[in-house]
Amino acid sequence: MDPARWNEISRLAAAAADTGGAEREALLAAHPELRAEVESLLTFLDEGSGPLDAPLPLAAEPADPGRRIGPYEILRELGRGGMGVVYLARRSGAGFEQTVALKLAQAAFQSEFFLRRFLDERQILARLEHPNIARLLDGGVTTDGAPYLVIQYVEGVPLDAWCHSRGASLNERLALFLKICAAVEYAHEHLVVHRDLKPANILVTPAGEPMLLDFGTARLIEDTAPSGTTRTAAPMLTLRYASPEQVRGLAGATRSDVYSLGVILYELLTGCWPYPLGSDGLPAQLRAIAEADPITPSRAQTSLARRRELRGDLDSILLKALDKDPARRYGAAAQFADDLRRALRREPVLARPLTWRYRAGRFLLRHRWAATAAALVLLTLSGATAYSLRQARIADRERIKAEQVAMFVERLMGASRSGQVSPLARRGRDLKVVELVDEAGRTVGDEFKDRPEVEAGLRSTIASTYLAMGLRAEAAPHVEQAVRLAESVYGPNHPATARAWNARGRLRLASGEYEGAVNDFRAAARVLESVRSPDLPFAQSLLGEALYRTADLAGARQQIEASLAGMRQQFGENHVATSTLINNLAVITDDLGDFAASERYFGEAANVLRAQPGPPGNLVYPLVGLQRFHLFRGEYAQAKALCEEAHRVTLAAGGPNHPNTAVALTVLALVKAHLGESDAEPLARQAVAIQRAAYPAGHIEISRALTFLGRVLLKTGDARGAESVLREALDIARKVFPKPNWRPAESQAFLAAALAAQGRAAEAAPLFDSAAAEMAEVLPATHPRLAELRSLR
């Protein structure tokens, strides 16, 4: 058939299929030439028994009821997943008959890896005995070697369907949910994280009891939907209940389960998902989970009466459970449940988002740097936990370790479940991060005397935190301990040792021991690369920085480019964390003389920051870098647009007196001077004024602003004025950079130009020549600054 004609037919057929009756008739009547063809298609519209309506089978034989596995007789299939099948089975003996669910591993998948998972599941389930958790009853191996698990068979209806079909009241739903929380809490106390809590995994029995299924098995046997419903959906795509950290690919910890419980309760109470959805695509869902604020439950699409019931405490409780930051959620399912009970009893609840926001806001205002450091502590600590939890899947020993670390941190934070508040926590918002870390440093040795592997990890974290606060002396002993412990416990090829080396490298970098730092980071990167650790890009970035300090520019570029690739892979193309790397690459490639790369990197850094909300004031740096290329090429209009953008951004982000605003003003003034615009000089002077107020006398930024003012004055014909400001600029720059450097050289060259413009060629010539020699010494021969210098002459 002619594709063009098919195109028309298919479009009409699609439209007609969407409608019926008179509307369809009208559509068809409007296209008489296509009508017969479309109508013949429409006779196949109803789905039914066509070959495409049934899932494609590979083998044609039905399951085999009556087969025996150990003492169990298979009755029918309940469901199946990637690696196994779940059967309803029966065990009969003298005077008893027991109906069970039997999970049988598929013979084809008995790899060592898989068997280990199967045995893991068995161990996990064996530990759990709770009236609301489906119990492990038995397990064994079939005659042909396939392992199987026998689990309590739960006859019931998925949680959401049960509530819906009974029209359960708010209180009934909450009562059911509290029991679920208790079961989850019980599992957590036994160090089991579910990771895949969802209504389909919670059945309500005819007696009205909720039963949790698939504990720790979500990744093992994924689809245990009752047979009869042909489910082809990929269970891994059930993201509705996944936590933000799970969406980011981190292993779920207990607080992930708290989050999933939050979504389940949210849906039970409002009937909808917590996030607004612009489109129904998976990326939109992922983004919503990772970034969007949940809709306040009482504002969700639900009945007016229900909205009234939700307003206030339930709103606050749900929003706390759904917090993006695991650290701000309820620490345990039990705390979540306790708060719900308080709300039911009309007692004050712990979750008060408004109060929290108020306090956080105040805290941020008062301790901006401390808050940043606090976030960093939490990040590193939770990072450590997430790492350990990944390991936890391999060995219980490691899982216990992760839990111990988490508990240690919680004790420090005063979030102990006994309700006792630690002396530190009582200090509330007056607690300084450094005190927290001091306390951790004092107690960690005693706490983990006989657990050197835990101590090693925590010492690395403590050291890193001190370093982030610039406290080198405090960090040093912990660095040494961490390295010593890690090397002896883990040996040289383990990521934990790499972490300790990383910490030592950072200490050395901060102390100016660049060669030592390079060695540490290189060793760490080698190990992290061999285990494909997600931490590799961070080590590479540090290695790049250390190499830059040792003047190995090419090596630095290579490492930072590798780091950038890794970061992009992990965090996506436009993650703000990549902007600094890209900007550094722009500077390094500029130093290397690879200007095409430099311009490209400045452009990329600018685009990443432009995509951030705000956008942030440090967008000024790539924009300034970028405009320079246009200025050198005489593309003044483009340069001006970038400078104006920089000015707008810095004004919005930092206000009129922020140093970033001054930086934007300097370049804007210069390009305006090139264009002959009259406000160039006042803008340049404004920049100098801002920097004089912002920095102590003699700061290089004042010199920079003065140099720009001098250049503007040269352009506008005020050579005498230029001379005086350039002399001051040069004076400052010489003190800041006593060795050969392009900054003082540049100021000096412009000073020479100012003298020459006044007809003082004899004074100008030697100044110019020595400036040119200095620049040629430190810059690559092709550098635009050199070209500009030559043009001055």
Binding site: F44, P57, L58, M83, A234, G281
Partner: protein, 195 residues
């Protein structure tokens, strides 16, 4: 195995990032692994279970891709490749089953020959051939059928893979389904060959 996982995951990343060469390395790995898995099932004698491509493709994904490192995009891309490979393997298998019966090497089946096959193989070959014809006039919708029928992907997964809305996929599917069912009915109605 873990090494292979890491390699496949890395290749998926690179392909998702636009590196075509990565696909050239990915396809042979996916094909050989899927084939190995599928044949383990296809060899199963009577008395065993019905298995659907969805399960197989998902299993392959678990086997070949490092879940910790994979991003959603990698997953969709992977399923896209797997669907195509799945189709190729199943069709080969059905053809061989037929060749075993009649000792022939003909590309196309007569209806009588097709009827000798077990029902699933019969509809599989018929759908495959109809789909090949459909791809000539409408490659885009044919791809959707391939992903859904041979790859076992859900409409939403296809939408994510093709970066269109679910509604669009659903409409395309409806039209393709009507065309194919009309075509298939025509084939089985008369004593003509499946050409």
């Amino acid at each position: 195995m873990e090494l292979q996982k890491a390699e496949v995951t890395a290749l998926l990343h690179r392909w998702s990032a636009g590196e075509q060469a990565a696909l050239d390395r990915l396809v042979p790995i996916v094909y050989s692994e899927l084939r190995r898995l599928a044949e383990a099932y296809l060899r199963l004698e009577a008395g065993r279970h019905l298995l659907q491509p969805t399960a197989l493709v998902h299993e392959l994904y678990l086997k070949l891709v490092d879940q910790e490192r994979a991003q959603w995009r990698d997953r969709e891309q992977f399923f896209g490749i797997a669907a195509k490979m799945m189709r190729r393997i199943l069709v080969d298998h059905a053809r061989k089953a037929l060749a075993g019966k009649r000792g022939a090497r003909a590309e196309h089946l007569t209806i009588d020959e097709a009827l000798e096959l077990p029902a699933p193989n019969r509809s599989l070959l018929a759908v495959d051939e109809a789909l090949t014809r459909f791809a000539d006039i409408d490659p885009e919708r044919a791809r959707i059928v391939e992903l859904r029928y041979f790859g076992g992907l859900e409409l939403q997964e296809i939408a994510d893979l093709l970066e269109v809305s679910r509604t669009t996929v659903k409409r395309h599917w409806t039209v393709a389904r009507m065309w194919l069912h009309r075509e298939l009915e025509d084939q089985f109605r008369g004593p003509r060959t499946l050409e």
